[in-house]
Amino acid sequence: MSEKNFLARALNETVLTRRSFLKWSAALGGTAALAGGLSYGLKSMEAAAQEDESEGEWISAACWHNCGGRCPNYALVKDGVVLRQKSDDTHEDSPDFPQQRGCARGRSQRKQVFGADRLKYPMKRKHWEPGGGRKELRGQDEWVRISWDEALDIVASEIKRIKEKYGNEAILCPGGAEIQRTLTLYGGYVSTYGTTSGGTLHSSKTSCLGFGAYNSVMINDRMDHRNVDLFVHWGANGASSSGGNPVYNYLQNKKQGARVIFIDPFYTDTAQVLADEWIPIRPATDHAMVLGMAYTLITEDDPVNNPLIDWDFLNRCTIGFDADHMPEGADPKDNFKDYVLGTYDGVPKTPEWASEICGVDPDRIRSLAIEIARTRNVALCMASATARVMNADSWPQMFFTFGAMTGHIGRPGSFTGDSYYHQNWSGLRCGPPIIKPGSSGVPSVGMNPLEGENVDVWTVLPKVPGIRLNDTQMWDAVVTGKYLAGKDDLRDINIQLIYHGGGATLQTRDGMTRGIEAHRKVEFVVSHSQILTTNSKYADIVLPVTTEWERYGTITAANREIGFVWASQITEPLYEAKDDIWIAAEIGKRLGLDPDVINPIPLKQQIFNQIAGAAILKGDVPYSKSEYEPLVTITEEDIKEMGVEGQPQQGRIPLKELKKRGYYQVPRYPGDNYEYVALMDFREDPEANPLPTDSGKIEIYCKKLADVVESRGWSTIKPYPAYNPAQEGYEATFADWKNKIKGEFPLQNYNIHYPRRSHSVFDNIQQLRRAFPHEFFMNPIDAEARGIKHGDIVQITSKHGTVIRPVFVTSRIMPGVVTLPHGAWVEIDEATGVDKAGADNILCGPVSTGQGVSGWNSCIVEVKKYEGPIQLEPDYKWPQRIPLKEA
């Protein structure tokens, strides 16, 4: 019986664990190192471990993913094998000075690095030839192992051939900072840009407030959150989207007695802990609700008897609110107040008007507005999820306008902001960082020749320069050979090479059905990855790359208070995996470029540069007056041991200790010198402390935003925040809006973030699949109407594609709304064209609007019970993707 078990285990080996590793080596009578080298050559480097020496050594291990957390993470390594991980325990834990704990995803990091599905060797698609071969088999072909020489030769020769035949404009490289250096030096490539996480915050916030989408400068410091009396979380679900400490931090606000309101289509896991009240709202209709709230304040405000509006703030710090405060040259009729009142368009934006759209009781819209207006200290926080909506260019402007109306900007205990869970804290980049890493010292190779000038694509006028494709148009561009470069500016384009040097473009950008079509059209597709991800699945040549655990180290940007994490090497590169930068240099060599320009500074030196340049606020005076000083103490011995060039310096923490701990954190307490109130100086004196907008003030009338949108050529908006229904929003679910007769796709779908994945990373990890089945959420009223029961397999169809999933029927989501979590790796059943994995971008289409926003949270679908022929197994039972059948 036990022998059978041993064999069964051996055949089903899914992870190289220590036990299995030792059993195998014992069984094979082999050495301590597996073929391909798991031997650990770092023993000479480290000082004696603090922990149990016989058990191995704890090493700061990277968690480098794009959830925004990038938390400290530690791996226990013995004889080259990771026994287990742990989260931060480098100091005592308290709400003021919390340990930087990570989530289930980072905890599964070793399963990703050492998984049996790691790509070991370069691979070529069996039916590929120069020119494409049988292109229709991309995504469903067999794989053949090839050598690195052959792989690099093929890639280089294809780049060369396609450049010579079609020009650099035929090369599309949506991701991969390393290979983009090579391609830039080789004449350039077509790049892409998209709103991704920030949604319409990009153009809207930059134009109306002067800050970029990922700049959380609008959020007060977390200590100040404890002064907030009413906390409004609009569309945010930190428990899923920002694993780690963020929700713990918001709990401290609640513990001080704050009243907390969540406005969301779903009674999320975050809401179930923090919410005193849940206001269900339809996706993509937030703008309408806030207009209804603005109407209430405008019509009921009486500065003497019933003050609801902060006229002082509006008059001093904003432009465009009413006809008396318009900028020069603007039509006075284009003021926000008259729009809300319906003076010129005949449609007063009453709470009733709003309710018809957003689904919230008009009485609550009214009372909420008044509650926010009357409460002294209010935090108004919108998640960028609400901005990931088609046609929602004016929505961030609307939200900040309401914050301005109620005066909850620039005061202790009050702020209006966005992206506030980002980077494992709260308002991470609010104010200057307490700690920041230095620069790596790697010089730029210059501008990509095909990009034209170096501009901010979100605000540049008259149009985006060069040949750049917006995410929502790129796949169409490849397939149709045409793209809109600006208003009335339709151009030809002929992409024949797609280079995925990094990122997960095919998986995470809208319009995957079209994207797959695009991948089957071009002559050559090449991809770097560690596992057979979507990018690689549809490629011709796949190059296996190392993870951060297999490199000397990495500096990952983290939250404001720790600045960065220094993670060190855990293991030698697995099998034949190589660094991305090595690949970029090797290809460069074959293209006649100088590899030392592509890869000029060894990684070790880059790390050292960032460590040496790391700075920390002195903290002896309040932050706005405080200066930076070096963080790390470096001795000559350190420099010699690391084998780098540099100068000794004096700092707060010795280099070796920082390397061991992984990060440095300043103990904090309420009232310390690191507290920050967003825009306080601006509020006090907007002339002396203008915002980086054209007018220096908050632009409720923003000509730039309207111009930018118009110039992109897809749609037009008003300079003031008018409501623009999304093409695939609530209104689109109706064939007849007036009589409320539903159309072909009667349900609204959006893409909640999901704790199994960081975007699409970790989707393949079985223990995460076991914990998170990737369900499709639906309300019982909608389910019962379709004869669907909890746990059934259902089919979800949009205009753009079809997926199947097990359904989670729950009252936690409002009727009329469903959600398919973001990030599952597509797995199309070629016979039926149905995606078994439930990839969000199969349902979301390539629809270009406004500034070029990827509007994932505006999507309409129909759902029905799935009757076959596919037999859908639970995700955790799916076999791992192991493309080459050999050890």
Binding site: S2, R101, C103, Q272, G359, P755, Q767, P780, T810, S811
Partner: protein
């Protein structure tokens, strides 16, 4: 040495993130289908048409909360009582653990435990269970789940101290009545928590996840 070690769980702040479940799987090298600690969602409520506004629905007592549960190292452990080989034992500090070298894999303990703490490891043919990270405890460290929880909802210690600090509640829906095995567990209930056995909701997790 403590007389009876136990867990504390604060259901009012658990966000269902399952890092406790995954940290345990990581620390103990468990295959994906064995989960010595699991997180269950319990919830209920429904939606009613708005009484006066057609087209609007309002939530009616919609609630949900999460419960993280491993082994409760019970004071009256049913698993120890029924184990024929004595592989399932209770230490003097209250920790109940299974000595896999003596286990015959008869799964009787699995039948007897109302928390499904003993789980059959089909790869090895023996039972497996949360052992309170006794190797860490013996070194003066904390169980992996307690250290990992991002909301700080888990704690551990002598059960009498935990009871003195947090109260005597040892069961809420969907957990079974505490009188069956007297779990060494203290719970701070979620504000919507329902009493064990008289709940109006249901376990929300998909059947395939359970």
């Amino acid at each position: 040495m403590a007389k009876q070690l136990g867990f504390y769980f604060d259901s009012s702040i658990c966000v269902n993130c399952k890092v406790c479940q995954v940290a345990c799987q990581d620390k103990n090298d468990l295959p994906p289908h064995l989960r010595w600690r699991r997180v269950l969602q319990y919830g209920g409520g429904d939606w009613l048409p708005h009484p006066s506004r057609p087209g609007l629905f309002i939530p009616n007592q919609v609630f949900s909360y999460a419960v993280s549960i491993s082994c409760n190292h019970c004071e009256k452990p049913a698993c120890v009582e029924v184990c024929p080989t004595g592989a399932m034992t209770k230490r003097s500090d209250g920790i109940v653990f299974v000595d896999q070298n003596n286990c015959i894999g008869c799964r009787y303990c699995e039948w007897a435990c109302p928390y499904s703490a003993p789980q059959y490891n089909d790869i090895e043919g023996v039972m497996s269970k949360c052992n309170f990270c006794m190797d860490l405890i013996d070194k003066g460290e904390k169980p992996a789940c307690v250290s990992a929880c991002v909301m700080r909802a888990l704690d551990f210690g002598d059960i009498e101290e935990l009871r003195a600090r947090y109260g005597n509640l040892a069961a809420i829906e969907p957990l079974p009545d505490a009188s069956i095995t007297s779990p060494a567990l203290v719970i701070t209930p979620h504000r919507h928590a329902q009493a064990s056995g008289s709940g109006t909701g249901r376990v929300l997790n998909l059947p395939e996840e359970l």
